[in-house]
């Protein structure tokens, strides 16, 4: 059965409360024995003497959601997971705030460590999301993932 393509994007930063609520929602799923979480946080990089104050994210949303979907399907095929959730910010996220939240759960720990690594690397490499690094003087530069 073809599963529905979910919308991964949220407006602005992902709050610690949202993350805590996501964890709480899994307490009823008692076949789960291990969770692993990746949180991407905006760094105050210094570039040519100027400090990053935030990142303004934009995306090719339709394709990005399609890519997130493909990554999700590939991950479920390779690893024995109970569930997986991915959220990514759009728009402005200040330094120190969370812009990516990946949450994987499984009966056992080994699967979540490996699956999480796979998912995050695939997101960084393939998903058409574009971060504009903003400086205090209103200038900016486009970020490139390394």
């Amino acid at each position: 059965m073809e599963t529905k393509i979910k919308n991964v994007f949220v407006d602005g930063a992902i709050s610690p409360e949202f993350i805590a609520n996501s964890i709480a929602k899994h307490q009823s799923k008692t076949t789960i024995g291990a969770h692993d979480i990746f949180l991407g946080q905006v760094r105050a990089d210094e570039i040519d003497g100027k400090t990053v104050v935030g990142i303004d994210y934009s995306a090719y949303e339709a394709m990005a959601n399609q890519k997130f979907h493909e990554i999700r399907e590939a991950t479920f095929e390779q690893f024995e997971l109970s569930c997986m959730h991915i959220y990514h910010s759009l728009g402005k996220v200040g330094v120190g705030e969370i812009c990516l939240f990946v949450f994987v759960s499984s009966p056992h720990r080994k699967e979540v460590f490996e699956a999480l690594h796979y998912v995050v690397e695939a997101i960084k490499k393939d998903v058409p999301v574009f971060g504009k690094e903003l400086f205090a003087d209103d200038s900016y530069q486009w970020k490139v993932n390394t």
Binding site: L100, K124, V129, F130, K132, W142, V144
Partner: protein, 84 residues
Amino acid sequence: MNILLFGVTKDIIGSPSLSIPSTAFSRNDAPKTVGELREFLEKAYPELQNLASLAVAVNNSYAEDEKEINSFDEIALIPPVSGG
């Protein structure tokens, strides 16, 4: 032909999408593949050549240069990604 632009390609070309009227091409000269389109755009906007990478997506999938395109396809320029 209409091309969606993202990230730095929007700045280079100066708008969120690029519409190339068929009159921009002489007869039989319109790009028929991703590679030909890329060549046309890199000539028209040389700054595109300075990017670390420039992918072309056709109908929401990354496409190789050999991929054939027509005016009904959704085509997009994908500069280096920086999600997460």
